[in-house]
Point group: C2
Chain length 396, copies 2
């Protein structure tokens, strides 16, 4: 249960156009965000948490119903990590979660009206990149009067944003914590994204991305996309331990029903359930946009593929965390980041956590993982305290 | 180029019902097969090659057009393995390839008419298992007058059939060669099959499996299924080497087009091409049947999951081959088979080939792999010669 209690999303509408990497422009747009804890007097204790594929600004705490009562099962997606007394301790830090543009959880996205046409964006929402998101996030910080982040933190696609912060705004990031991430997608990563996208785009209910006008949702495609995703989030081992070859409603050793279309195995039941749930709440165009942002992220691209050259701009201190059984973004990918930082003489800590859960481990309560995160954020808090003690009163 | 030349498929129609593991019965059915080389006088040199998911009886040689001229690109799927002077040398062995029932390459399957109803089987074709296929294959051997096989050979799902032969007909198999296979599917293996099946079954053109009557094919589903399959056939490394992050029609380092639906990366182009090609020739109901046969195979099921107990029946000598980068059926799964055989004191050779290509390696020309296969089949040929030399003339 959340120790943070009820939290309320806020939003800012920006009138200044956001120029995107593709050359397109978001003329005006709204970003939804949440904050937890209090910004200190010298505005030095802000931690930005960047979200991954299907998450949002709602990092921690619970949402309330119209009567102000906590809604059941409304905990933020990283409530185990962020809160009072949690590894990212909101008694010490002012934590910010921002929903990225293109998402489907409140910030301007494909489900909204394009002011130029008066029609819903749908598939015509411009392609957004990790770099675009970081630029958008920076504007929220500007509005909140935060010049420099104590830390930028993210897992998976969120970790890519954290890395990109250190390259786009090196002087605005004190620490970067990049968990279960990679400096770019491998061919296999792109391949899985592409199959998921094909499943969505070829669903007749997709209508070229303008399905809203038809009153339908490409559920078949979304289900298949989510099922593929879930396979890559779990390790082979944990899938074996959790589901193995167990049959639904039968004992191990029993004969199956012998059907090509009915559910036989527990793993099938699990995947279908996850697919159904996802298709109830996630937007198909957002899925395309976010997987493309993943595909395109590649800070080394303009440096001849040399990550060490790309990371030379970074001035932050780094914590990089990977999980042994993560085959989506394997420890090897994290080690590439660490090597590039070491090549540049940067201050980097690296933890390779022996955890069974695969990529999903970054969201779960693993004692060693939580311990590493807590220790690192405690170090940041001590740094801030030491610095504030040496700051002349007049500057406060 | 095939050294075997033009080969011609044959077929046998069986009037005796085939009782299936599910309890269903195939009342009458036709099996298509090919043979290469000559059966020797004592009928001891027969090698049965079992096929995997999308292959067929056409193991080696080329097919001819109506004028008897070789058709371009019509080589059998294992032409590099089987032929005169090849590792499975048709100058020494009489090699047989049989198309399994439920397939879509000539043997009775979902595209044929159900004699009971006068209508095309479609989704009502009974579920077939590896054990059913082995029983069907045994009837072809009966008809050809082959009591005992010099060897049964297969890769992947074909390897499962080879293993099952040694359990269903222990006295009819002298050697079993099981390549890139597993004693059952893992939860992750089943998961990939299930996503592929969902993509097919939820394609509106599937029509509950009776799409033939509607004059359509569930191409969208077949494409997605094949794309998923291809990802699991290739190793992460070989995908990286072959495709990496290369963009279509652009140099490495160039900016992409920024599109969510157009092809950007080479890997996308490759997967879409493979999906398109597959949807042109493969039957959707066959895909469901064959993936289910994979899911269901589990000789240890009725032995409390203990493979050593299951393999006690086997009397053959074994060669088990795996490939280091195969993550679909990893070397660990082959070692489970080897351990079960060793537990039973069986004669087993095991080769773990250090090859980069992933599961697909079993179809490719790797010098060490080909060397192992050649050496093992040479040993079988020598055994046959030695035995025939000691066989009294009168028995010949």
């Amino acid at each position: 249960m959340s120790t943070l209690g009820v939290v309320t999303p806020q939003s800012i509408t920006f009138g200044t156009p956001l120029e995107l990497q593709s050359g397109a422009v978001l003329k005006d747009y709204t970003l939804v965000f949440e904050t937890y804890g209090r910004l200190n007097a010298d505005r030095s204790n802000a931690v930005l948490v960047c979200h991954a594929l299907n998450a949002s600004h709602h990092v921690a705490g619970v949402h309330a119903d119209v009567n102000g009562q906590p809604l059941p099962r409304s905990e933020g997606w990283w409530d185990n990590m962020v809160g009072p007394g949690k590894p990212v301790d909101t008694n010490k830090f002012f934590v910010i979660g921002i929903n990225n543009p293109g998402s489907c959880f409140g910030s301007t996205g494909p489900m909204h009206v394009n002011p130029d046409t008066g029609r819903i964006y749908g598939a015509s929402f411009p392609v957004v990149t990790v770099e675009d998101w970081v630029n958008a996030q920076a504007r929220v910080l500007d509005t909140l009067g935060i010049e420099r982040l104590a830390a930028v933190l993210g897992g998976s696609l969120g970790g890519m944003q954290a890395l990109s912060w250190t390259l786009q705004y090196p002087e605005r990031v004190r620490h970067c914590v990049a968990v279960a991430t990679a400096p770019n997608l491998s061919a296999q990563n792109i391949a899985f994204n592409e199959v998921a996208r094909r499943a969505i785009v070829t669903d007749p209910d997709f209508h070229g991305g303008h399905f809203y006008a038809h009153g339908v949702v490409p559920r078949r495609g979304l289900r298949v996309a989510r099922m593929i995703g879930h396979i890559t989030y779990l390790s082979d081992d944990v899938m074996e331990t959790k589901f193995g070859r167990e049959l639904v409603g039968r004992e191990r050793g029993d004969a199956p029903h012998y059907s090509t279309q009915d559910i036989e195995f527990q793993i099938e039941s699990y995947l279908r359930y996850q697919g159904d749930k996802f298709s109830d709440y996630f937007d198909a165009n957002t899925y395309l946009l976010i997987t493309r942002a993943l595909d395109y992220f590649d800070p080394a691209r303009t440096f001849g593929g040399k990550l060490s050259l790309a990371m030379a701009r970074a001035m932050a201190k780094f914590l990089v965390v990977s999980f042994t059984t993560d085959w989506r973004f394997s420890p090897q990918r994290s080690r590439e980041i660490v090597k590039a930082l070491v090549d540049n003489g940067r201050d980097v800590s690296y933890a390779e956590i022996d955890a069974p859960h695969g990529h999903d481990a970054f969201l779960l309560d693993d004692a060693r993982y939580m311990g590493v995160m807590r220790a690192y954020f405690d170090r940041i808090a001590r740094e801030l305290l030491a610095e504030s003690a040496t700051t002349p009163e007049v500057a406060a």
